[in-house]
Symmetry: C2
Subunit: 453 residues, 2 copies
């Protein structure tokens, strides 16, 4: 595949045109996203109208926005007008309010109204991600009537694969899939064929909940109802996949101690990248400063037996790693709903057992090695410290995210980096406590002091 980047730079319109003709819409969108924002308008303007819309719809909202900024007003209106209402709302959501208002004002009154309805629901709710353009049926219709209605009004709908069935008050009675409708005898009644056990969601439901329902129930479309159970829209599986991707980015980022980026990596500047990390790094640094306090209290001990300092990184790294492992597994299991708060006792008792096994393994390996190079006393100290620290870290890594969720926090906030840092200070206390106990006869009174032994 030729590089769009090179073609745009050389400004060879004929070569560009033939590249655009040979290339699929998805690849064009992909390559456009990788161009510098100011270069995107050139190839985009060379696309035929239908194809331009197709490519436009495949772009991320942020790239859509950047592209709109470099197009003529009329072209902009056309593009925004022909988008699906839910995609349009996502685009408007991410734009500066002023630009969004101007764009909205330019819409036809129908499309403007649809947009206003969606924007009236809270951010990240089912109301924001649904489309109000669907085809609904009546229970009394025959299959033939229903298919005729689908043909009449299906063109404007985002999906016709799930057809909600409502009564006079727009109350949701059931759903029928286009598949069942097409395969059914045309004389039968919709009311007899429809499924009444419907997976519907409330308009205020959280986006993630909607996405999970679509996945778990293996459905393509979910009807959205208001508080009186009246149908207001439908959410489609492609929107669910997008929500998943955003949620995953959020969880993965937090687990790495970074705030999630809302835009593709290459489209944000280094200052913005740094800002997304500064708060976490600072917070973790302050938590880590606790270790300075702990070690200062034990400075006399470290001064007398400097070999103790040599093992500090190994011990806190290992404690941190086992805590991170436990929290990663538990947070993931909570994210996919495999465990809930009521499972806390089961989880904790299992993780304690895991900690004992892993701690025993590491202790058993460390004892002969440390004894060989540093003597038996250090062998005992390091092996027993590893044993205790790994159990403690595994316990904390499993229990804290579950408690965080119980308190209404994002469990990912208590993920690997925080657990690691929390375990460090306590791990040092465990280490030096064990060391002082074993080495008591070699230490002066001052070096024993932190424990007042």
């Amino acid at each position: 595949m030729a590089e769009l980047q090179e073609l745009t730079r050389t400004n060879d319109v004929n070569a560009l045109r033939s590249w655009l003709e040979e290339t699929g819409a998805l690849d064009i969108a992909d390559e456009l996203a990788r161009l510098d924002p100011e270069d995107r308008a050139i190839p985009f303007r060379l696309l035929a109208k239908d194809r331009a819309l197709e490519v436009f719809e495949l772009l991320d909202p942020i790239h859509q926005q950047e592209l709109l900024e470099s197009l003529r007003e009329e072209r902009v209106r056309e593009l925004v007008e022909s988008m699906e209402p839910d995609d349009r709302v996502r685009l408007l959501d991410e734009m500066p309010a002023k630009v969004a208002n101007r764009l909205r004002a330019g819409l036809s009154s129908d499309e403007r109204q649809l947009t206003a309805i969606l924007l009236g629901y809270p951010p990240e709710s089912a109301g924001r991600m649904m489309t109000p353009e669907y085809v609904n049926l009546r229970a009394s219709m025959s299959v033939a009537d229903a298919l005729a209605k689908v043909r009449r009004s299906g063109e404007a709908a985002e999906t016709i694969y799930l057809l909600p069935v409502t009564d006079d008050q727009r109350k949701l009675l059931g759903v029928i899939s286009l598949r069942d409708l097409v395969l059914a005898d045309s004389a039968r009644r919709v009311g007899d064929l429809m499924r009444t056990e419907v997976h519907s969601v409330d308009v205020d439901a959280d986006q993630e909940e909607v996405a999970r329902l679509i996945q778990e129930a293996d459905v393509l479309v979910v009807p959205v109802v208001d508080h009186e159970d009246r149908l207001v829209g439908v959410v489609t599986v492609d929107d669910a996949m997008e929500v998943f991707e955003r949620e995953v980015t959020e969880d993965v980022s937090r687990a790495g101690g970074v705030e999630p980026l809302e835009r593709p990596y290459l489209s944000v500047g280094p200052f913005h990248l740094a800002r997304k990390r500064a708060v976490w790094l600072l917070f973790l640094g302050i938590a880590a400063a606790l270790t300075v306090n702990v070690l200062t209290a034990f400075e006399a001990t470290l001064e007398q037996i400097s070999t103790l300092a040599v093992f500090i990184p190994l011990l806190i790294d290992t404690g941190g790693n086992s805590g991170a492992q436990a929290s990663t597994v538990v947070i993931r299991a909570m994210a996919v709903d495999e465990i809930r708060f009521r499972d806390l006792p089961r989880v904790v008792s299992r993780e304690l057992l895991v900690g004992v096994m892993l701690g025993a393994m590491l202790g058993a390996l460390a004892f002969p090695l440390v004894t060989l190079f540093f003597g038996a006393e250090f062998g005992v100290i390091i092996a027993s410290t590893l044993f205790v620290i790994v159990i403690w870290a595994t316990f904390a890594g499993a229990a804290l995210p579950m408690l965080a969720k119980r308190l209404g926090l994002d469990p990912a906030v208590l993920s690997a980096p925080i657990i690691t840092t929390l375990v460090d200070a306590t791990g040092l206390l465990i280490y030096l406590g064990i060391a002082i106990t074993v080495l008591a006869d070699q230490l002066t009174l001052a070096a024993l002091s932190p424990f007042g032994l």
Copy 2:
């Protein structure tokens, strides 16, 4: 909602029956998964036949397997026979070979053949996740003929929402959606209406690639073709979502230093949980043992100025955190295809800038605080060490995963825990190098020795 767990324990069949009648299939599947394996057969046997199949299909393959073990042979055959071929293959894949063979032998010859075809493709390929049950059309058909064919043979197909159009040799010519077919004039020809720019995948394509295509192209179904471009099956969006969920679990687990669990958390024993962590923990421990070597080399320095030991955890934690941040962001951006290897220079130069900003921030904060409590010399040492370590860790965290991917490794293998551990030993060298330079006049020859100053 009453608790299935309690109802099963009390063995009150009437209460169980009415709970099952009132509860949706999805919630039944959810609650069944949370029961102990030996308790699941009781409520399951009380379900009506159709409903039992529906619930069965909503279970994870591992829970399906456990349930089958506790049912009578005939019931097992019925359930397995009526599954979609691709779901059945996933179930058989995860079973002990002996049981899988017995189950396969019990299938009707049609279903057995379909299953054998799928099992012939490599694991994790498009061939394994596709269904061979689809409805294909000819370009010469009229819309009315096409709809008639869909009605005739659609019942057995997993999906009829995308209808591939093939020639006499089964070569894929294009696709038409059921939507377009239903909305079109019944006299028009399929060949004129079909889309020829098709997102199809090769039968050997990696599952993740297929899933990403379905998501990026916003399609519900993707045709699968063999090496001669002949149609062999279709992959549906629900399978793509499952692949995503498994891939995310894999990435998240590796990022936390654990091998992914293949089964739900509560269905694996503590020994298995420990085994999934032991190798990583051991490997990271061995890498961390490097720090013992570094510090042993500097033991004379630490003995003379024991305050140096006090800052070790703070410095290596902060280095580790900034490395983990960079690797998290870069690995995620690679996972969603926002950056590729050719972007390495851009990524590295941006991350270096980020490192300079973050390092300067932390250094500027640490200098007055450390000076206040430990004197100006330590203020200088800690501030400049933080500055250098953060830049180095950010650079390593960004560059190493990209290089790993270039070498054909899973970039997640070089994620947070490994980066943290790698940065520790080098961070200590940086720290003690700076300290010796600043404190040279207070140190004896022995304490200066590791650098031979």
